[in-house]
């Protein structure tokens, strides 16, 4: 290698992301432009999503904010008010400190230098955390105990209120207002109030088709982003991810799973758009909302959903089957339930419930499992033993019994946790609690294995901190495993939720849930109303199978030995 050659290489090889982006911004600009267009088309829904996000964040923050006071209250009840106040402060600070540990990395060092102390590196880190925690506590106290709190809540309310207003004022491509399928027949045989005067069935089909077309476009946009990054902005010609993606793309069973999961997720996210009637009207408050229909005398009448639902039940005697209209000319693509509600609406909102519970349970469980497996594999010894004991203790309790017990206790007490999704969040938390030991067990082996690699020693030898070592040198090797177990278990969570609801535990009405549909329809399977239990039953089977297929495919995709022949050939070719 000559010197001039090296110099040329050096100049050419500076391929950092920022530099490449600066040299060739066009593909990225085009890609972002497409995103802007896509978002503009569904701007109303985007704001509705932000609104929901705010609500979730608000709920979580409220929950955490309420705990120090609640614990203080409990302590005050036994040890007196002084002890209670101390407990509130101590627990509040502990909570703030826990939050500050991951956050403090992103806080500039200058905040500590202000104190003017001579600190060691370690002391510096802890000082930053304490400082951040104190600031958090101070802000929280300010909001909780001074008039500032009122102004703060007013500001928050103003923001959420305006987002809420925007979400209903701004148009969306797939909105119910734009492509309406709720209208009534006119005496001359046409339709009134529907999209272009088309029949509700066609209007609904157009809207649903648009939803899936839009979602597919979004997916294509994401894929395009990956490709753009790979061809234009990535310094490396090849990364291990490329192989993973290539293997996944040629796995048809996995692609099938991905497709079904995609449909399931779209169903959940666009539930308001794909349901033929509004859930709020048809399921949650049927007696407060009415609609117009053309009665047999040829007159347009107004009727409440609650009465219309009574006449539209699919209960063996009456049946509103697949792809049909009920007596009030409401389009029911999947028929009605045994209580006369619309099945498609129920199914899409039920998908929302299942997905929320599954994601929350698996997300929390996997997070706990990963953190504990990294800690126990890195520190070994007493940390490992303590984790083994804790997880064994949890696994020793029969999960079903625990779930029933805890859900009854919380629901009887009407605890705030038991309120979202009519017990759905509670269920998700219990699932997370019972599932993490299994997931931790599954990834314990790989974590211990990776912690024995010499690159972990190497990191220690140049002084890398334990936290960063776990993040950079261990976690990436665990991620694949946890992804597989998570996608396999999420099917289990969905089916368990349905099973519990089927038994009358779990999620209470009116929150739509697939298990309750099956429970309601099971006596009519042999009658003309067979669809009531069959449709959600098939949906559950498909979704669970799809998640399993996806998990399998991910496992095959991330396992480099899956195409060992090719790998061997490459090594032989590239050997020194």
């Amino acid at each position: 290698m000559s010197t001039t050659q090296t110099d040329v290489d050096k100049r050419d090889s500076d391929k950092s992301f920022r530099k490449l982006l600066g040299e060739n911004p066009r593909p990225a600009a085009v890609w972002l432009g497409v995103l802007a267009l896509l978002l503009a088309l569904e701007i109303g829904r985007v704001f509705a999503g932000i609104d929901t996000l705010f609500a979730v964040i608000g709920f979580v923050v409220d929950l955490f904010a309420a705990t120090p006071a609640a614990i203080g209250g409990n302590v005050a009840g036994t040890l007196g008010p002084a002890a209670g106040a101390v407990a509130t402060v101590v627990f509040g600070f502990a909570l703030a400190f826990a939050v500050s540990i991951p956050v403090s990395e992103y806080v500039p060092d200058a905040t500590v230098d202000v104190l003017g102390l001579e600190l060691s590196r370690r002391g510096h880190r802890w000082a930053k955390r304490v400082e951040l925690a104190s600031a958090l506590v101070a802000v929280a106290a300010l909001i909780a105990y001074t008039p500032v709190g009122g102004a703060f809540s007013a500001a928050i309310a103003a923001i959420t209120g305006s987002v809420d207003a925007l979400s209903s004022a701004l148009p969306s491509l797939t909105s119910r207002e734009l492509i309406s399928n709720t209208g009534h027949r006119t005496p001359d045989g046409g339709w009134d109030d529907t999209f272009l005067g088309l029949s509700p069935a066609v209007a609904w089909a157009i809207r649903t088709g648009l939803v899936f077309a839009y979602a597919t476009a979004l997916l294509a946009w994401v894929w395009r982003g990956y490709e753009t990054y790979r061809t234009h902005y990535r310094g490396a010609d090849w990364t291990p991810t490329d192989d993973t993606v290539r293997r996944f793309r040629s796995n048809y069973w996995g692609l099938f799973g991905f497709a079904i999961v995609f449909i399931f997720v779209v169903l959940a996210l666009w539930a308001p758009a794909v349901s033929p009637v509004e859930a709020e009207h048809n399921i949650y408050e049927p007696n407060a909302n009415g609609f117009e229909y053309l009665d047999e005398n040829g007159e347009v009448q107004e009727v409440n959903h609650v009465f219309a639902n009574l006449d539209s039940r699919s209960d063996g005697q009456n049946t509103v089957g697949l792809l049909s209209y009920d007596d009030y000319d409401r389009w029911a693509p999947l028929g009605t339930t045994n209580r006369g509600q619309d099945m498609m609406t129920h199914l899409s909102y039920g998908a929302r419930t299942s997905l929320t519970i599954g994601m929350t349970a698996i997300g929390l469980g996997a997070f706990v499992a990963v953190v504990l497996s990294l800690l126990s594999a890195y520190y070994k010894g007493i940390t490992d033993i303590a984790t083994v004991m804790t997880s064994d203790t949890i696994q020793a309790v029969p999960a079903l019994l625990l779930i029933m017990l805890v859900s009854v206790v919380f629901q009887e007490a009407d605890h705030p946790i038991a309120q979202p999704l009519d017990g759905g969040l509670l269920l998700a938390l219990i699932f997370a609690f019972t599932l993490w030991p299994g997931m931790w067990r599954a990834i314990r082996g790989p974590s211990l294995q990776v912690s024995e690699q010499e690159w972990v020693d190497a990191a220690k030898s140049y002084g890398q901190t334990p936290l960063r070592t776990m993040q950079k040198h261990m976690a990436p090797y665990i991620a694949g495993y946890i992804l597989i177990y998570a996608s396999l278990l999420i099917g289990g969570v969905i089916i368990s939720t349905a099973a519990l609801t089927f038994l009358g535990l779990g999620i209470n009405p009116p929150t739509p849930e697939w298990g309750r549909l099956i429970d309601g329809g099971r006596t009519y399977v042999a009658t003309s109303s067979w669809h009531v239990a069959t449709v959600p039953g098939i949906a559950i089977v498909l979704v669970v199978v799809a998640f399993n297929a996806l998990g399998d495919a991910i496992r095959d995709a991330i396992d480099p030995e899956a195409d060992v022949d090719e790998a061997e050939a490459a090594t032989a070719g590239g050997g020194a």
């Binding site: 370690r122 002084g463 020194a576």
Partner: protein, 434 residues
């Protein structure tokens, strides 16, 4: 530059009851001078890697001191340790395991710089490119992944990472043993070039003696956690003083098929480092072991059997018999302990045993047969023990250790009783006994 004094690194067994640690490094003292390459050789499991890891504080020393430019690094913690780590780095044995496959080469080499917040990110990238160039890779390899490289190239990446912080002292833990022979030479030459360019001090751990002879200025020979001999390379290779060095060197294959040098075969396996011998660590297998007066002229085969017999006694002594085994024995059933008679027969069945020896042996075997191994061992030592086994003037095991004797003008040291004036020199004894 590095002064090691009576360094001990023990590994805890982790069991609560039997808490005898594994003595991986058991009292080692030596110096490494600035700019030199000290070789550390010995068979697998003798503690050389542990010693290397302790020197760069990947393991905590159990006892003893390591002075690095006058600072005892076994004492420093926190910030001081973090700062010190820039001075001492390690090249690992297995290039497959020492590089994180999920990071690009650039990220790997850059990480030490990031950890120590060296200058600006742009300067760090520039330095990584320089380092890649220095170790014979291309700057454009920055964005490649380690497993696109061959073993030799991966080791070059590892060396680049080691050099990133400009260390003064580098522990090379068998850096070429996992590589192709053709690549080994390239890496060795690279290491030598880098040493010249950056004034590096190496501790070169290896079991390939020819490589050691090529690269090292001085060599330390290690056995069972102890340094047996340490001195200038050429001198040590041509005129070994310690019996273990003799044995080790005799194992180097000779390209000349007509060469007549005898190979010294060591009997048995190295002792369990949890239970090292009480005297000289090499006493159980030494080809030049000092024999007590009166038995000097016994047959070599008989001595081999006697040594094995002692090892069996020692092993029986520490093996705990479970209740179940005691019961089986009581009822005359077979246990995993062979009876003393069988052992005796196996060891001494086909060697000629003089009467006076036989008398003692029978006595010892009977005592051991009654499960009083300690007593039997004492009796055995009284008759056949020597200073090598830790037997002192009183005739019982006092744990007498050899001392380091200076065996040449260059200051070469050897850890052996043979250098005391009353005993014959090692080379003669080995010659005579072979």
């Amino acid at each position: 530059m590095v002064e090691v004094r009576d360094l001990k690194t023990y590994y805890d067994s982790g069991s609560l009851l039997d808490n005898r640690p594994v003595k991986a490094v058991d009292g080692v003292s030596f110096d490494i001078r600035r700019g030199e390459t000290l070789g550390l050789v010995g068979e697998s499991g003798c503690g050389k890697t542990t010693l290397g890891r302790t020197l760069i504080q990947l393991e905590d020393a159990t006892d003893g001191e390591i002075f690095f430019d006058g600072t005892d690094i076994t004492e420093i913690r926190g910030d001081q340790l973090y700062e010190w780590r820039q001075n001492a780095q390690m090249v690992f044995q297995d290039p497959d395991s020492s590089l994180n496959d999920r990071m690009t080469v650039g990220e790997i080499v850059r990480e030490p710089l990031d950890v120590h917040e060296w200058k600006t990110p742009a300067e760090r990238r520039e330095r990584v490119r320089d380092l890649l160039d220095k170790v014979g890779l291309e700057a454009e390899h920055y964005y490649r992944y380690p497993h696109q490289f061959s073993g030799g190239q991966r080791q070059r990446i590892g060396i680049a990472r080691t050099l990133a912080l400009n260390p003064e002292f580098i522990v090379l833990d068998e850096p070429v043993s996992a590589l192709d022979v053709s690549v080994q030479a390239e890496i060795i030459n690279l290491l030598e070039d880098l040493q010249d360019e950056f004034d590096l001090t190496y501790l070169f751990i290896a079991h390939d003696l020819s490589v050691v002879r090529h690269i090292c200025d001085r060599v330390a020979v290690m056995y069972l956690g102890n340094i047996m001999e340490i001195g200038p390379t050429e001198e040590l290779f041509t005129d070994p003083a310690n019996p273990y060095t003799h044995a080790l060197l005799s194992a180097i294959p000779k390209p000349d098929p007509t060469a007549s040098r005898d190979r010294i075969t060591l009997h048995g396996t190295p002792p369990n480092p949890r239970y090292p011998p009480s005297g000289c660590p090499f006493s159980t297998r030494c080809p030049a072991r000092i024999r007590p007066d009166g038995y000097e002229e016994l047959d070599d085969d008989l001595w081999d059997s006697l040594n094995s017999f002692r090892e069996i006694l020692r092993e029986r002594m520490r093996a705990e018999r479970s209740i179940r085994e005691r019961l089986r024995e009581r009822f005359g059933m077979e246990t995993r302990f062979a009876t003393m008679d069988d052992t005796y027969e196996e060891l001494f069945g086909d060697v000629a045993v003089p009467d006076e020896v036989e008398e003692i042996l029978t006595e010892v075997a009977d005592t051991a047969g009654d499960h009083d191994e300690a007593e039997a061992l004492d009796r055995f030592n009284q008759a056949f023990g020597s200073v090598c086994d830790g037997v002192g003037a009183s005739g019982v095991d006092e744990g007498v250790k050899p001392a380091f004797h200076q065996v040449s003008e260059s200051g070469r040291l050897s850890y052996c009783h043979r250098h005391e004036s009353e005993y014959r020199e090692t080379a003669d004894v080995i010659e005579a006994r072979n």
